[in-house]
């Protein structure tokens, strides 16, 4: 076996090992959701008060994360700003780590769960809350894509 063949073999071995490692890490870094929430509509108010907010807590997320070493966090963002006077918040329950509570969604990713060091129980509740001021006016039906991103942290 000449030096060149040996080098090629070492490269492929490295590729295989790294690929396995990559695959293993990739499998650990999975987050999934049960679906999208039903349409949320602000339709009522108590006279003298702002329109009544509405909530949806019927979807869940699961994280296949088995972090070792380090921790994972989950961030959330939306693909475009909400209309003026309309606020969408998200709350992720967390059986591991720490939930940030209700986080107002914007186009800037924000932490919603941090410090995930162990595998999270499946089916953690996602709660959305939609609120509007009277000044927001009538807002026609529309959608926003909410992106949950699981990131590794030291």
């Amino acid at each position: 076996m000449n030096a060149s063949a040996s080098a090629v073999r070492r490269i492929w071995r490295t590729v295989a090992v790294a690929g396995l490692a990559f695959g293993a890490r990739e499998a650990r870094a999975q987050v999934s959701v049960s679906g999208s929430p039903a349409a949320m509509k602000v339709t009522m108010a108590v006279a003298g008060s702002a329109p009544a907010a509405v909530s949806d807590a019927l979807t869940t997320y699961s994280s296949a994360t088995n972090p070792a070493p380090g921790h994972f966090s989950i961030t959330a963002s939306i693909n475009s700003p909400m209309p003026a006077g309309v606020t969408l918040t998200i709350t992720l329950a967390a059986s591991q780590g720490s939930s940030a509570g209700a986080v107002t969604l914007s186009t800037v990713a924000q932490n919603v769960v941090t410090g995930i060091a162990k595998k999270m129980n499946n089916g953690q509740t996602i709660t959305y809350n939609l609120s509007a001021t009277a000044a927001a006016g009538v807002v026609p039906l529309q959608t926003r894509q909410v992106t949950l991103t699981q990131i590794s942290t030291p």
Binding site: A3, F22, V33, A47, P51, I126, A132, A135, V146
Partner: protein
């Protein structure tokens, strides 16, 4: 040469793995809407009794100011009307004045009848609570003695645009 190729490959793969395992994403679609909202409420059930006069003048009018109204609208130029279900006895006038919320206009003290009348106009995208609501009862001497009676005053908010 061979060793450095190997290191390069390892370095590249480690970097690749680091980049690709740093995050995992999933999306949900949130659908939302805010419909037209127009709500009004009032508090108070005033009782107005005319029982005196200054000699030479009409019976003394009475007012009841311990009432209030509240409003929420997310539309522009909404307005409020008032109406009573049956006419007042001859010689008696029941009037109401509503304090307007910011930016809106009150019609001032206005007599109530079986025809709806605007009492506040130009209410635009606001919520305002505990606004003033005052009733006034006037009577002429010709009205005579009027036994106790009631009128239900109905306020209606109509959305603008």
């Amino acid at each position: 040469m061979s060793k450095s190729t190997n290191f390069l490959a390892i370095g590249a793969l480690v970097a690749f793995a680091a980049v690709n395992t740093a995050s995992a994403q999933v999306t949900q679609t949130v659908t939302f809407e805010v419909t037209a909202i127009n709500q009004i409420s009032v508090t108070g059930a005033p009782s107005l009794v005319i029982n005196t006069a200054t000699a030479g003048s009409a019976p003394t009018s009475v007012t009841a100011a311990a009432n209030s109204w509240s409003v929420t609208t997310n539309q522009s130029t909404a307005w409020i009307t008032a109406i009573i279900p049956s006419d007042m006895p001859a010689g008696l006038t029941l009037s109401a004045i509503l304090t307007a919320p910011a930016g809106a206009t009150s019609a001032g003290l206005i007599a109530l009848s079986t025809t709806a009348v605007n009492v506040v106009t130009g209410i635009t995208k606001l919520n305002s609570a505990a606004l003033g609501l005052t009733y006034t009862l006037d009577a002429t001497a010709a009205a005579g003695v009027v036994t106790s009676a009631t009128r239900v005053v109905t306020y209606t908010i109509t959305g603008g645009v």
